[in-house]
C-alpha cells in the first residue's frame, strides 16, 4: 500500500482510452464497475472533445458479482459492435475487473465478431497511464499492420500522439509541415487521427518519426524489427533539438532540400539585450522524461538559465533522466510522490519551475513562477490558438511561455531599488499579471531557536536586511547565505554574513 494525495498518471486503462479516443473507427469495450466512466470527462471537459470517447463500459455492480459478469461483458461487447460498427475493437479490464478474472480477451474471441478483436493485458496494480497507452498502441499495430511494399516516394509514419496529450495536436501539425518542407510525405500519423485500416498500411513507410517515446516507443521498436523501419531518436523540442532532428531526418531520408528557418525567432529573442536578465535564473524542471530532457537543454543552452534540479515521474525514463542529471551536475528526482516534489522545490528555492500542472500549484503556494512543460494536463493546456512545443514555432512558443511568468528585466531593477513603493512592490508580483499574485507562505520565523552545529540562526538585523531583497530572489539569497554559513562554520548570520555570502556566490 502506498499513500497518494495526487497522481501524475492515471491507471493504464486511461492510457488505452487515450489511444482509442485519439483514433477513429476503433471501439474500446472496458470491463469496469460503474464509476469508472468518470474517465470520459477527461476528454469531453479537459480536452473539450465534442464526441464521447469510443468506450463502452460494462458498469457491473455488486449484485452482478454473484451472477454472470462474463455474460454482462459479452452483451456489452455485442451491443457496442451493433451500435458503433467499428473497424476493430480493443477489449480489456480496469483495476476491479482484473480482480474478478473474467478474461475479456478470451470472451470476446469466442463471440465471432466480424472485425479484429484485440485483447489488452494492462496490469493495473503495477503500471500506469503512459504504459497503458504505449502497450495499447503496440498491440494495435502488432495485430493490424502487415508487411507491404514501401511507397515509391520517401515517406514516414508519425508515431506517438494521443488524445489528451500535452500539445500533441499542434506538434503534429508543426512536424508534418516540417517533413513536408523536407520533401517527405507522412504515410500514417497514429494513434491520433488514424483508423484501423490506416494502421494496417503503416508498413509502407520508409521510416518512423517517434514524437512521444512515452506513448509510442514499443510500436516504433516493433516496426523497426518487423518492417525494417528505423525511427528517430531526437525529440524536436527547442531550436537545437529541432536542428538535430532535421539532421536525423536527412540521414534517414536522404533529403537535401534547403530549409528556411526565418520563422525561428527564439534564437534572436534570446540573444537580444532585453533577455540579459534571464541569465543564470535558477530553474527546477519536472515532468515526463521526454519533456524534461528537452526542457533541460533549452533551459541551459537556449535560454541561459541554470538548471538547479530536475526529475521525472515516469519510472520508465529513470535511467535517461539520471544520466541527464549527472550531465547537469544535479541530482535526479525520480518520484510520483507529489509531496516529495513539493519538498524538493521548497528546499531548492528555484527562481522558476518548469513543470506540470501539479508544480504550477506548488509554485502558487510557494510564490515561485512556473511554466507548464508537460502532462498531466489541465483545461488550459488545450489553448484555442496554435501553440506547438516542437519545431521552429515550438521554440518560439517555449520562449514566450517560459518568460511570461517572470518579472521582466527593468521591472526587476526597479523592485530592487524601490522595494517599499506602496503599489509597485514586492508582494504585488509581476506587474503584467495584475494584482492577484499571493504569497501565502509566510517567511519562516527563526528567532527563538538557539544556534547549534546543525542549525544556523538569523540575527534580527540580517533577517531585516534579507527582507529588503525582492521576493523572487529572496529564497536564493536565504539559501546561499545558509549554505555559506554552514560551509564556513558560522552559526549566527549577521548582515555581514549575508554580504559575504553574496560576494562568495557572485557571478
Amino acid at each position: 500500500m502506498k499513500l497518494t494525495v495526487w497522481t501524475y498518471e492515471g491507471p493504464p486503462h486511461v492510457g488505452a482510452m487515450r489511444v482509442a479516443t485519439g483514433m477513429k473507427g476503433l471501439h474500446y469495450v472496458l470491463h469496469a464497475p460503474q464509476g469508472d466512466t468518470y474517465a470520459d470527462l477527461l476528454f469531453t471537459m479537459i480536452e473539450r472533445r465534442d464526441h464521447r470517447p469510443p468506450v463502452t463500459y460494462t458498469t457491473f455492480q455488486a449484485r452482478d458479482l454473484g451472477a454472470d459478469t462474463a455474460g454482462l461483458f459479452k452483451k456489452a461487447c455485442q451491443d457496442a459492435y451493433d451500435r458503433f460498427k467499428p473497424e476493430a475493437i480493443i477489449v480489456g479490464a480496469s483495476c476491479t475487473a482484473e480482480l474478478i478474472q473474467d478474461d475479456p480477451g478470451g470472451l470476446a474471441e469466442t463471440m465471432g465478431l466480424p472485425v479484429p478483436v484485440i485483447p489488452l493485458e494492462l496490469p493495473s496494480y503495477q503500471r500506469k497511464e503512459n504504459f497503458g497507452a504505449d502497450e495499447t498502441f503496440f498491440q494495435i499495430v502488432k495485430h493490424l499492420a502487415k508487411p507491404t511494399e514501401k511507397t515509391a516516394r520517401v515517406s514516414c509514419n508519425v508515431i506517438g500522439p494521443t488524445a489528451l496529450g500535452f500539445r500533441h495536436r499542434d506538434d503534429v501539425a508543426e512536424i508534418t509541415n516540417l517533413l513536408f518542407e523536407l520533401g517527405i510525405e507522412v504515410n500514417v500519423t497514429g494513434p491520433m487521427g488514424a483508423t484501423p485500416s490506416d494502421i494496417a498500411r503503416m508498413g509502407q513507410a520508409h521510416f518512423n518519426v517517434l514524437l512521444y517515446p512515452e506513448t509510442g516507443e514499443m510500436a516504433a521498436r516493433y516496426c523497426e524489427k518487423e518492417f525494417g523501419q528505423p525511427y528517430t531518436k531526437v525529440v524536436p523540442i527547442g531550436a537545437g533539438a529541432t536542428h538535430d532532428f532535421i539532421a536525423e531526418i536527412r540521414a534517414m531520408s536522404g533529403s537535401t532540400v534547403q530549409l528556411d528557418d526565418d520563422r525561428l525567432r527564439q534564437t534572436w529573442w534570446s540573444r537580444s539585450v532585453d533577455s540579459t536578465y534571464l541569465t543564470g535564473k535558477r530553474v527546477f524542471i519536472f515532468g515526463d522524461g521526454t519533456h524534461v530532457k528537452a526542457a533541460a537543454r533549452v533551459a541551459r543552452d537556449e535560454m541561459g538559465f541554470e538548471v538547479v534540479g530536475l526529475g521525472c515521474y515516469n519510472r520508465e525514463f529513470a535511467r535517461d533522466v539520471r544520466a541527464l542529471a549527472k550531465e547537469y551536475g544535479v541530482e535526479a528526482l525520480i518520484t510520483d510522490d507529489y509531496l516529495l516534489v513539493e519538498k524538493t522545490i521548497e528546499d531548492l528555492q528555484p527562481e522558476m519551475i518548469l513543470g506540470t500542472q501539479m508544480e504550477r500549484h506548488i509554485g502558487k503556494r510557494l510564490g515561485i513562477p512556473c511554466a507548464v512543460i508537460s502532462a498531466p494536463v489541465h483545461v488550459q493546456d488545450f489553448p484555442a490558438r496554435y501553440s506547438p512545443q516542437m519545431g521552429f514555432e515550438g521554440a518560439n512558443v517555449l520562449f514566450d511561455t517560459w518568460i511570461h511568468p517572470l518579472v521582466m528585466g527593468l521591472e526587476e531593477h526597479l523592485l530592487h531599488m524601490f522595494r517599499d513603493d506602496f503599489e509597485f512592490n514586492d508582494a504585488a508580483g509581476p506587474s503584467h499579471h495584475g494584482g492577484a499574485v499571493q504569497h501565502a507562505k509566510p517567511e519562516p520565523e527563526t528567532a527563538p531557536e538557539a544556534a547549534t552545529a546543525d542549525n544556523v540562526i538569523w540575527l534580527r538585523d540580517a533577517e531585516r536586511e534579507l527582507k529588503k531583497i525582492p521576493f523572487f530572489v529572496r529564497g536564493k539569497a536565504r539559501r546561499n547565505t545558509e549554505c555559506y554559513a554552514a560551509e564556513n562554520g558560522v552559526f549566527e548570520i549577521s548582515v555581514d554574513t549575508l554580504y559575504e555570502a553574496k560576494a562568495h556566490f557572485a557571478r
Partner: protein, 427 residues
C-alpha cells in the same frame, strides 16, 4: 401552506410507471462525495483504500484539483497486497500511523472502501474498530463504502453519514436533527429560520467538527435536506428517530413546504411562521421570477446523476414554467422522493437506473430545450445542438433554501441565455 403547494390537478407523478433499464450507467461512484465532505467536516480525513483509478477519479471528478493539501488521500493497493504477500491490515495501520503523525489536527478518520477493496473483501470495519481502540479518544475511526459496485455518486455521502449514526450518543430529549451536508452559509440560513420558529434543540449531521453535541433517541425527529440519504434515513429510524417527510427545500415552494412540515411537527403558529418566512419568501419568488423569464415554456430532460433530479424537476416545472420530458434518477425511494413526486405535474417519463445509449436515443428524439447530464455527456450533446446543464454543478453550488432559489433557477437559465447571447440559433 399556500395555494401554490396544492398537488397538480392532473395528478402527480408518484404513481406514474417507472422505466427501468439496465445497461451502461454513465455515473460517478460514491467516492466523489469526498470532494465536498472533506471541506464540510473540518477535522476529518478520508482515506480511500483502493487503486490508482480511485485516486485519479478523486482528482479529476471535481474538474479542478484542490491543491491546498486536501484532507483526503488514497492508500493504493499494489501487486504485493493482492498477492497476499503483505498483510493488508498491517500495511493499512502503517499508512494510518504516518498520516496521523503528519496531520495532528485530524480528529475523525474515515476508511473508505472502494471497488477493489470490496472485491478482495478487505474488512475495513474490523480495521476501523482496531484503529479506534488504538487512537481513542483523540481520533475516531469509522468506515464506509464509496465503491462503484455499491454506490452511485451522492450515495457516498449517504454511506458516510449512515456510518456515523450508530456511534452518536443517545438522548431522551426531544430534538430536531437536520441531515445532509450543506454549504456553511446555507446551513446558517437554515438554522436561523428554524431558530426563528423557536425550536432550540437543533443539530445538523454532519457537523463541522466532532465536538458537536449531537445525540439521537426515541424523541428525535429528523428532516433531510438532500434526497439521496436513504441509508442514513434507515439508520436513524433504527435508532428510534422519526422522519419528517416533506418535499426538499429547493425553490421557494419547496423550502416553504419543508419548513411547514417542521413547523407542524413543533406546533409553530401560523403567525410566527409568517413572520419568519414572509420576507425571504418574497425575495425568493422575485429572484426565481427573473430567471423563470428565460425558462418559461421550455422543456427539460434529466439524465440520472445525483438523485436531486426529482426535486429539481418539481421546482422547474412548478416554479419556473418548464415542461419535464424525462426525469431520470439513479434510485427512487418512495419514502424520500414521494412528496416531491406528488407535487410534480403528471406527464414526464420517470426513469430509474440507466442504459445510457438508449437514453441518449430518447433524448435526441425528444430534443429538449435543456438537458441536465453528467460531464461526460455535456459537450458531445452541445455539439449536437442541445443545450446542457452539468449536473455536478448542482451538487457543488449552494442551491438550497430561500436565498439560493434564484441562483438555482439561474443555473438552469444560464446555458439558454448564453446561447442567445452568442447568437447560436435555437434548435
Amino acid at each position: 401552506m399556500t395555494e401554490l403547494m396544492t398537488p397538480p390537478r392532473s395528478g402527480g407523478c408518484r404513481n406514474a410507471p417507472v422505466l427501468k433499464q439496465r445497461g451502461q450507467r454513465e455515473v460517478f461512484c460514491g467516492l466523489t462525495g469526498i470532494i465536498w465532505l472533506h471541506r464540510k467536516m473540518q477535522d476529518a480525513f478520508f482515506l480511500v483504500v483502493g487503486s490508482r483509478t480511485c485516486a485519479h477519479l478523486l482528482q479529476s471528478a471535481a474538474g479542478v484539483m484542490i491543491f491546498a493539501e486536501p484532507r483526503f488521500g488514497t492508500a493504493i493497493l499494489e501487486e504485493s497486497d493482492l498477492a497476499g504477500l503483505n498483510d493488508a491490515h498491517a500495511e493499512l495501520d502503517r499508512e494510518v500511523a504516518t498520516l496521523l503523525a503528519r496531520r495532528p489536527d485530524i480528529r475523525q478518520l474515515f476508511l473508505v472502501g472502494s471497488c477493489p477493496s470490496e472485491v478482495i473483501k478487505l474488512d475495513l470495519t474490523r480495521a476501523a474498530e482496531r484503529l479506534t481502540q488504538q487512537y481513542a479518544p483523540k481520533v475516531r475511526v469509522l468506515d464506509y463504502s464509496g465503491s462503484g459496485i455499491e454506490t452511485t455518486f451522492t450515495q457516498g455521502e449517504d454511506a458516510c453519514l449512515a456510518s456515523m449514526v450508530p456511534v452518536l450518543p443517545t438522548t431522551e430529549a426531544r430534538n430536531l436533527v437536520v441531515v445532509g451536508a450543506l454549504p456553511d452559509v446555507v446551513e446558517d440560513q437554515m438554522l436561523a429560520l428554524i431558530d426563528g420558529f423557536g425550536i432550540d434543540t437543533v443539530h445538523v449531521l454532519p457537523s463541522r467538527t466532532i465536538d458537536s453535541d449531537i445525540a439521537i433517541g426515541a424523541n428525535t425527529v429528523f428532516a433531510l435536506t438532500q434526497p439521496f440519504l436513504g441509508d442514513t434515513h434507515a439508520a436513524l429510524i433504527r435508532r428510534g428517530a422519526r422522519h419528517i417527510a416533506a418535499p426538499f427545500p429547493m425553490g421557494e415552494e419547496g423550502t416553504t413546504a419543508w419548513l411547514t412540515a417542521i413547523a407542524a411537527e413543533f406546533g409553530v403558529s401560523d403567525e410566527v411562521f409568517e413572520t419568519v418566512t414572509s420576507a425571504p419568501r418574497r425575495r425568493a419568488r422575485q429572484a426565481v421570477a427573473k430567471a423563470a423569464e428565460t425558462l418559461n415554456g421550455k422543456s427539460v430532460f434529466f439524465f440520472p446523476d445525483s438523485q436531486l433530479e426529482i426535486p429539481l424537476a418539481r421546482f422547474l416545472t412548478r416554479e419556473c414554467g418548464m415542461t419535464a420530458l424525462e426525469v431520470g434518477s439513479p434510485y427512487i425511494h418512495d419514502a424520500i422522493h414521494g412528496p416531491d413526486l406528488d407535487l410534480m405535474p403528471a406527464g414526464p417519463q420517470i426513469s430509474e437506473g440507466q442504459d445510457v445509449d438508449l437514453q441518449l436515443d430518447r433524448c435526441r428524439e425528444a430534443r429538449p430545450d435543456l438537458t441536465v447530464c453528467g460531464l461526460g455527456l455535456a459537450n458531445p450533446l452541445e455539439a449536437e445542438g442541445l443545450s446542457t446543464k452539468w449536473a455536478i454543478e448542482l451538487v457543488f453550488t449552494p442551491v438550497h433554501f430561500y436565498e439560493q432559489a434564484g441562483d438555482l433557477a439561474a443555473l438552469f437559465a444560464r446555458p439558454l441565455r448564453r446561447k442567445s447571447i452568442l447568437g447560436v440559433a435555437a434548435e
